[in-house]
Amino acid sequence: MNFLDAIWLIPLFPLFGAVLMFLIGRRLDPQPERSPEALEPELAEAMGEDAGQEHGHHPRFAPTRRLISWICPGTVLVSLLFSIGAVVQLAGLAEKAHQVILYTWLAGLPFHMGDGAVGRFAADLGFLLDPLSGVMILVVTFVGFFIHVYSIGYMGHETGYYRFFGYLNLFVFFMLTLVLANNYALLFVGWEGVGLCSYLLIGFYFHRKSASDAGIKAFVVNRIGDAAFILGIFMIFALTGTVRFLDVNQALHGLSAETAGFGVLSLTALLLFVGATGKSAQIPLYVWLPDAMEGPTPVSALIHAATMVTAGVYMVARSNALYSLAPETMAVVATIGALTAIFAASIAFAQNDIKRVLAYSTVSQLGYMFLAAGVGAYWVAIFHLFTHAFFKALLFLGSGSVIHAMGGEQDMRKMGGLKDKIPTTFWTMAVASLAIAGIPGFAGFFSKDEILWQAWSSPYGSKALWAVGTVTALMTAFYMWRLMYMTFWGECRADEHTKAHIHESPPVMTVPLTVLAAGSVLAGWLGVPKAWAFLPGSFHAFEHWLEPVWVAAAHEAGQGAHEAALEWALMGLSVLLAVAGILIARYLYVQRPELPDRIAEASGPLYPALLNKWYVDEIYNFLFVDGLAKGGGRVLGRFDQAIVDGGVNGAGWMTRFASAVSGWWDTWIVDGTVRLIAFAVKMISYPVRFLQTGFVQQYAAVILAGMAVALGYYLIK
């Protein structure tokens, strides 16, 4: 079977599942008349209904619900199989790129390009499989499939099961469209589409205002990035006359890098990057991601850790031809990435919500990826994206399993001592935490170490970037193991009722955990450090696999100078720091658990600032939401009523006033004259009126008499 020409089917399978859920989902999974959360508590009380049903007994579900559990993960599994088939066949091709174009979607009219030539504004509904999108579809379908399976268990007791899986399938469709698109416009379709699914899934518990607030925040903040992204697409159109990736690369081929200053290419690249900061939660648009944790945990794992948020990194790597020509923008990307990494890691220090720690950790890790992309090491960015997808998805799913066990509790201060009670969850999460901390042998070590090495050695890199990255590595190890120690070690701080119910999750949830744990170890061995020259070439497979994607300039930048001794030294330092981070966390949270509070007290305003996320949300709210949007709306609304509509009403009032004046004039002066004449006539005619009796016969008699008189006069004369 030719999977290469069938790649357009890969996104369609999940779409089929989603459409099926929207059409017949409610039949398969009949919903209660009204979910117990629907009512405001006071209202429920007033109506005599039991409001406290959120937990406790579960509603009885229809047996057909099982069908959903087969269909929706099944469609993703089919996509996974097709993806594997396609990637295997791609590996056999000489030219490692395969395009399938279905039809012209935006059917172009002519337009003037930047240089005045006439181009055509057109975009295909077409798909491109090359090594880069191959990696992405494998990650999306593989991780996506196991998260679907996990969700069968996690969402098993929830109402809206069909809706959840419908959204999840829709998300996979859009994500696959994003990574398989052969042009920027179609990439944008997936780009906005995953934003929509993110909105829908964050707001899945839509009876909670905080959830729908977070959904709106995610969508609108993403839209800010998208606005810039659209302009970036137009720039590419104006520059090259096309948006197909391969043709854009072709058109950019002859250009030399913009070293003289910030020019058109740099602007284009920067606009695209602003789009990426929205989607991938970088400074200054990262604020939506922590709030996005309002969604169900599998959503956080799939969308807000493994796939959607990495779309920005994918897009920058996809545009490597453009970025290689714009060194100034590369510097911006690297700097933003490094700053985001350390900034988010600092916030993660003080968070107590287990999912929020992971959210900030995700922001921080995405910063790493942009740091790698910014120094020109695109393959390393994708490599970190690849390993991160495994261990971060695993961390989220593991935290979901913990939350599941704790009956919905997310506050780590109320956990502790869980390592014996939920052993599978514990050891899988431990693997992931070691991976993210950068302990040798685990996946995170290889990718993170390669990023730090590239930051040091790449021609775009610098010692400062390396230093920031290395400090962040220490911080990462610390806050991740702070999370582990608070959750799994020490005394259990939960109340008795919760404590009695702590249980390991069912196999449908633990099997995905185990699979991902295996991935969190093995994924890294595809790209071992170059200094480990003793290993055979297949351990460097990742870099070689992606090589055809990069344009020459980008590829060279990724190579860097090579000094094995230095690399060993830096590697040793970062491992040392990782171990130190873990040990500090152990000292503070296991051996001396009273210390953190005292440090917090002694730190002055620093701790509250960390706890409140440096007050960024408050500042944004004040400036943009309440200030610019709502405030501006209120001011303009008043302006509209008072000035604009006031002008119209004023014109109406002036007309009415003028008409009142002329009405008075007309009534008393003009009409007065008329009426005076009429009055005179009336007075004169007054006596004559008495002849008018109203009796027709009298009139006739008078007529007759008149006739008689006339006749008589005639005869007499």
């Binding site: 209202l43 002519p110 839509f206 009876h207 205002k209 609108v220 606005a227 709502k630 604009v644």
Partner: protein, 522 residues
């Protein structure tokens, strides 16, 4: 028969109206059924237009011409090109949908109501088909009357205020437009010695620039009030808010398009020198961009559901006029597509308000909340309409906005940069509206027992949902239909636009672009 297709399309609703007048007003059901049949027939007879239309032909097709008032040189002169084809189809489809949606909403004077609606259909189709300026003007004014009564008789609490404001405001604009028409008419006579209102004859008239400017402003007042462009928009929220649901739908979907259509059919081709005049273009684009941002911001402070949708129309129509005055093929085509999109998505949004208004008789947003719990299908349709209005890719709104923005970007980068903020704000106010009405918990006992969409309401929404998806996924036919008329317009206003310049090397291209960009920013 076939050579009078346009007349058949034009007069089918009117014939339906005359039959309706003969029916006994006591038999309400018969009247409703007949009105629906007539409107559906109006749609059916317009379908052949799509199949007969030749996408590759230049100029007007299916032309019908007969003397009307020979003494004045006025003709009964009909014809369509791609632009009017799309707008006529929009009229017949939304007209039927609006009449179907009135089934249970209208409970008094049904006969008069439906008669007004059918009369209005003929008026609106006439506006889009007329190629004679006087005929156009007559239809333009005919449309005012039924809408005046629809708002004034079947409207909400402040219906009289709204109806009179609507009527007088738009009438004032029309009268100035008539002055412009007459100027053209006498100019043409002075040059050719013939009195005529045919627009293809009037296009031959050569006028000095200053006169063209004056005529342009006269037309502008008439069209801008209808569109409505900032700052002539304030009749719109009042009229929309007070009109019955179907009235709002037609008002938004079709009536406003008469203004933009006027710009496309008359202002640009008849006054090409004025249309390219930098000062005029800057004012037009400035007003459009202000409308986009301003309309969206004002949406954020509304507590009346219908008023919010009305202000969102101001914002969307800002995109349409921006596209027109970018004077590029993509801007113009995007503008027409966006006009169709606005008809679909804003029409749906008004129908959505109508559904709950019929059940609760209030439009205040704070009266609702948590409706998704009791009306899941309704919540789905609302979400769909909201996303289509917010310009989500694969739905219709995106195609229009994206193409318009590309056109604006081609004309001037800074315009596009300002206009693109509209899509951010658009998402904000729509999502916020959705949250306040649909999400959260139910806090009002009156909302507990609201029934979900019934079969008739599904029938009202289904065609619009399908249409929105079609434009979003496969917009190619629309671009093909629009290609020729748009090219003609651009060629008329900017001669030589399509002559390809020698392709330069990419490096030179980048440099050329850089210098142009700097010029643009300055």
């Amino acid at each position: 028969m076939s050579e009078h297709l346009l007349s058949i399309v034009l007069f089918t609703p009117l014939a339906g109206m005359f039959v309706l007048l003969l029916l006994p007003s006591s038999n309400r059901k018969l009247i409703r059924v007949w009105a629906n049949i007539a409107a559906f027939a109006g749609f059916l007879v317009s379908l052949p237009l799509v199949f007969r239309f030749d996408r590759s032909a230049e100029g007007f097709q299916m032309v019908e011409k007969a003397p009307w008032i020979p003494a004045l040189g006025a003709h009964y002169y009909l014809g369509i090109d791609g632009i009017s084809l799309l707008l006529v189809m929009l009229t017949t489809v939304t007209g039927f949908i609006a009449i179907l949606s009135s089934w249970s909403a209208i409970d008094r004077y049904e006969k008069q109501y439906y008669a007004m609606f059918l009369l209005q259909q003929t008026g609106m189709i006439g506006v889009f088909l007329s190629l004679d300026f006087l005929l156009f003007y007559v239809f333009w004014e005919i449309v005012l009357v039924p809408m005046y009564f629809i708002i004034g008789v079947w409207g909400g609490p402040r219906k009289l205020y709204a109806a009179i404001k609507f009527f007088l405001y738009t009438l004032a604009g029309s009268v100035l437009m008539l002055l412009g028409i007459l100027t053209l008419y006498f100019q043409h006579h002075a040059q050719y010695g013939v009195y005529t209102f045919e627009i293809d004859a009037l296009m031959q008239t050569a006028m000095p620039l200053h006169l063209e400017r004056w005529v342009f402003w006269a037309f502008f007042i008439g069209f801008a009030i209808k569109v409505p462009m900032f700052p002539f928009h304030t009749w719109l929220p009042d009229a929309h808010t007070e009109a019955p649901t179907a009235g709002s739908v037609i008002l938004a979907a079709v009536l406003l398009k008469m203004g933009t259509y006027g710009f496309l059919r008359f202002s640009l081709p008849l006054l090409p020198k004025a249309a390219i005049d930098p000062w005029i273009v800057h004012v037009m684009v400035g007003l459009s961009i202000v409308a986009i941002i301003y309309g969206a911001l004002v949406c954020l402070m509304q507590d009346d559901w219908k008023k919010l949708v009305a202000y969102s129309s101001v914002s969307h129509l800002g995109f349409c006029t921006l596209g027109i005055f970018s004077l590029t093929p993509n801007g113009l085509a995007g503008s027409v597509i966006q006009q169709i999109n606005h008809g679909i998505s804003t029409g749906m949004l008004f129908l959505i308000v109508g559904v709950v208004y019929e059940r609760r008789h209030t439009r205040l947003i704070r009266e609702y909340g948590g409706l998704a719990h009791v009306m899941p299908n309704y919540a789905f349709v609302f979400a769909f309409a909201m996303l289509s209005s917010a310009g989500l890719p694969l739905l219709n709104g995106f195609i229009g906005e994206f193409t318009i923005l590309q056109g604006a970007f081609e004309a001037n980068r800074v315009w596009a940069a300002f206009a693109v903020t509209g899509i951010i704000l658009g998402a904000s106010y729509l999502l916020w509206l959705y949250q306040r009405t649909m999400l959260g918990r139910i806090n009002n006992p009156k909302n507990l027992k609201l029934p979900d969409l019934n079969l008739r309401e599904w029938a009202v929404f289904a065609p619009l949902l399908v249409w929105a998806l079609w434009i979003g996924v496969y917009p190619k036919p629309y671009f093909e239909i629009l290609e020729k008329p748009v090219a003609q317009l651009v060629e008329r206003v900017r001669p030589g636009y399509f002559e390809a310049q020698a392709a330069k090397a990419p490096l030179e291209a980048a440099q050329a672009m850089e210098s142009r960009m700097e010029a643009g920013i300055r």
